[in-house]
């Protein structure tokens, strides 16, 4: 489940944010590197909530928690029953 989730989220991040020459892996810093800005980050939140039928509270959906695909998966698993 976690592996499939990693792949799904990585695929979304690449399609939604990456430029042609960006290399994105599970560990790539997304927010702190400037690849995803704090305003655009909301699209990722919208996607995760719809895809996994969860509600991510604002105080949990922080730039730190959204910084890599790995940390995003951790966050989603925390809220997915």
């Amino acid at each position: 489940m976690a592996n499939e989730m990693h792949e799904t989220i990585l695929e979304y991040v690449i399609e939604e944010y990456a430029e042609e020459d960006d290399e994105v892996t599970f560990d790539t810093a997304l927010i702190s590197s400037g690849l995803v800005d704090s305003f655009s980050m909301v699209s990722l939140k919208v996607f995760l909530e719809k895809k996994y039928d969860i509600k991510l509270p604002d105080d949990e959906a922080t730039p730190e928690a959204f910084d890599t695909v790995n940390s995003i998966v951790e966050l989603v698993l925390k809220f997915k029953k």
């Binding site: 400037g34 305003f39 655009s40 909301v42 699209s43 919208v46």
Partner: protein, 415 residues
């Protein structure tokens, strides 16, 4: 009063951090009227230097137009200095109504409401119009004031890739379950000078039952055949649900902004927009002068046409000189340098040559996309532009970047 040394240190440390990141904004004093040629004290305490200004939003050169100054004097004499009130208590004069009607007609909308600035208009419009049943779908590079306004509103929001209509369509499909959808964009993006394809976006909005809001601050007065903005440029005048724009750039350059658009939406702003309800009326002086500005820009397109010629001439000349620019159709011309230090150093050297321009780098623009942003004005003469291009050529040569493409500059200076 308890401003202890410990408390003071907290703020002093933050200022040091801003300086360490290279983001500190130095004080610069203009000791003359705003115009193509200005007197500047920079750095603070230095003797005044007469320089050519290529970084103002004075697109039409109206900031010190004699007719506008005369109208401001007349407004001061006839309607006084201040209103000492917000609009809805006792701060609305007949000239506010006149200016709103004129702006509404000029922008091709049903109604219009003045705000103290476009920043205030953008801060207030979303919360006044939308609720949590709605969704805002915004271009990723919209102006900071729109971002702030969106964040103040309870509607859900989502973003789409800059000017990417396929991505916008995908987002419109995704949010069909919402009560209303509002697409939000700048008409002209101020850092790159690119024009949002409003014709395509309006078609998508019609297809997916969405409204559209355009901030036309860097367009009103000069984009489009008669200067009515990006909607005119793309042939969709009258189809934009909300236009926010400023009187602080091409349209006189003092201050003030507005929300113009569908009657019901403007009425909701009049009833609910907090910056409108809780800040003072636009001063009678600015209101009277702005009426004159709208008269001037409606009378003929002379200034707008001159600006277009100046922008095209500058673009041709600067490319011929071997500089790298982002192509476009607006008087905002980014000279691309990619490296932040290079942009900063070149802007400083340009100032020494009598040309006032500013380097922009992360986080104002994305990492690795540092540039000097040149803004043309109808107040510039051909000689002014020639002098600017000559200075770029001299300084570009000093740094060995003439004729280099993006890769060449990055190879030489890094990102």
């Amino acid at each position: 009063m308890a401003y202890s040394d410990k408390t003071k240190q907290v703020f002093a440390d933050e200022i040091v951090q801003i300086k360490d990141k290279g983001l500190y904004k130095d004080k610069r004093f203009i000791c003359s009227q705003q115009g193509a040629s200005i007197k500047v004290e920079f750095p603070e305490g230095a003797p005044q230097a007469e320089v050519l200004n290529f970084c103002a939003n004075n697109y039409l050169g109206l900031s010190n137009h004699p007719d506008v100054i005369a109208a401001a004097h007349e407004g001061l004499d006839s309607r006084g200095y201040g209103m000492s009130s917000v609009r809805f208590i006792c701060g609305t004069q007949d000239i506010h109504r006149t200016l709103q009607d004129m702006l509404s007609e000029y922008l091709g909308t049903e109604d219009c409401l003045l705000f103290p600035s476009c920043m205030d208009a953008n801060a207030g419009v979303f919360e006044a119009v939308l609720g949590q049943e709605d969704v805002i779908i915004a271009d990723r590079l919209i102006h900071a004031s729109l971002v702030d306004g969106i964040r103040l509103c309870s509607a859900e929001y989502d973003t789409f890739k800059h000017m990417n209509m396929k991505h916008l369509e995908k987002k419109l499909q995704l949010h069909q379950d919402k009560r209303t959808r509002l697409v939000v964009t700048d008409g002209v993006f101020s850092m790159d000078g690119d024009l949002f394809p409003l014709d395509e976006a309006v078609a998508l909005c019609e297809k997916y039952d969405a409204m559209i809001l355009v901030d036309d601050s860097h367009a009103s007065g000069f984009i489009g055949k008669t200067g009515r903005g990006v909607a005119e440029h793309f042939g969709v005048l009258g189809k934009i649900d909300i236009i926010t724009t400023t009187l602080g750039k091409a349209l006189g350059g003092a201050s003030g902004g507005c929300v113009a658009g569908r009657k019901e939406l403007v009425e909701l702003c009049r009833q609910k927009a907090r910056p409108y309800l809780f800040s003072n009326s636009l001063s009678p002086v600015i209101t009277a002068a702005s009426i004159k500005v709208i008269e001037l820009v409606t009378k003929n397109t002379e200034r707008r046409d001159k600006l277009e010629w100046n922008a095209n001439y500058f673009r041709e000349q600067i490319v011929e000189a071997g500089l790298n620019i982002r192509s476009g159709d607006t008087p905002i011309v980014p000279v691309m340098l990619f490296n932040a230090k290079l942009a900063n150093d070149m802007a400083r050297d340009m100032y020494a040559e009598g040309i006032y321009v500013i380097g922009f780098f992360f986080p104002v623009v994305p990492n690795g996309k540092a540039r000097i942003r040149v803004q043309l004005s109808a107040a510039h003469t051909k000689e002014h532009i020639d002098k600017c291009v000559a200075a770029f050529k001299k300084i570009g040569d000093k740094y060995g970047i003439l004729g280099l493409d993006k890769k060449g500059i990055i190879d030489k200076y890094g990102l």
